[in-house]
Symmetry: C2
């Protein structure tokens, strides 16, 4: 459709709003809006209000900067979690990914991004200073760097590593290696090489 | 992700609402919600309210059942349009498609669906009676059936054709033929056969 003639301003307005979302073009937006038109008014209100309420009422945890309904997030406030380990991640999706493994019982620190000069994101745009302060508070034994294995991730890892150097804290990073279920034939050389260098005792690899 | 642990009830609620939309899974919903969280509160309000307002204030044109901001839609209310021709379509998206061709100056009649016994949709669920009434009003010279070329579309076409039989109105349907830009080699036999039977004078095919 080159020329878009909507039969209604209200419709056009809703389509415009929907198509601002990433990955949603004008045709998909129209499809979604027409779907909503077929729903009960109360359902559409619930949808619209859930978004407005989310944006207005959501908080960021004052300790780890994860999003939260309260001043301190559920994870930081949980006394059963190990507060001497901090896992540094890029965003809240990564918190959810690590939580879903059910293999981690420490706390998090959400940077809010990674250092990316191309996008104009420097260390001062990220929650790095507050991480250093948490480490300086003295209770932290280990900082796990869990960023993407990209150049930006590696840069950010190295920046944080240098900032923490000399402090009484162990800095670790996620193990790199062959993914479970992966065919060796199709594993890239760098990953395969790294997993050879960092090979582990077979008994340890069985997990618990 | 098998177990979804959201750091916030508000977030979970918004993700639930988004993933009710057709074609949006829980991962996409989370991505969209996190995108909205990064926008200004006023933008998110505009988005949410545009949907609520649309659902609450939209009207259906009392003549053609197209959606509209007013009692009678812009097309039906336009004195420049030819009110002796009615193009029968399935839904408002089809109205927009025909309008976008800029080749049609008559009015529309939106059925709100097509006869589909498999989905439990019979003639009484569609705006067929109101179409007959419009024809009976006497001003209509031609009814153009512009439904999908599916079995359901053909059934609906035939149902309406029978209802209009004997009335003083010409019933036409869209020309079926080889799409413009299509390779003959890849055109299906039925379409190609139909376009041979209904071949047109070359001079007429040049368009205006």
């Amino acid at each position: 459709m080159n020329i878009e003639k909507y039969p209604s301003k209200l419709l056009e307005n809703a389509v415009n709003e929907f198509s601002k979302l990433p990955g949603i073009g004008r045709k998909s937006a129209l499809r979604l809006v027409l779907h909503l038109l077929r729903q009960e008014a109360s359902e559409v209100s619930a949808f619209g209000n859930s978004l407005i309420q989310l944006r207005n009422e959501i908080k960021h945890c004052k300790v780890c900067h994860n999003i939260s309904d309260t001043e301190t997030c559920q994870i930081c406030a949980n006394p059963a979690r190990n507060n001497s380990v901090i896992c540094v991640v890029e965003n809240i999706r990564d918190v959810m990914s690590v939580e879903n493994t059910q293999q981690y019982n420490g706390l998090y620190h959400v940077l809010g991004g990674i250092i990316s000069p191309m996008d104009g994101i420097g260390p001062s745009d990220l929650e790095i200073e507050s991480l250093i302060k948490r480490v300086d508070s003295g209770e932290v034994i280990e900082v796990i760097l869990a960023l993407s294995t990209t150049m930006e991730g590696d840069t950010t890892n190295f920046y944080i590593y240098r900032k923490l150097k000399g402090k009484d804290v162990k800095v670790t990073t996620l193990a790199r290696g062959v993914s479970i279920g992966d065919d060796l034939e199709y594993t890239d050389e760098i990953t395969l090489g790294r997993s050879l260098v960092n090979r582990v005792n077979y008994e340890n690899s069985l997990g618990k």
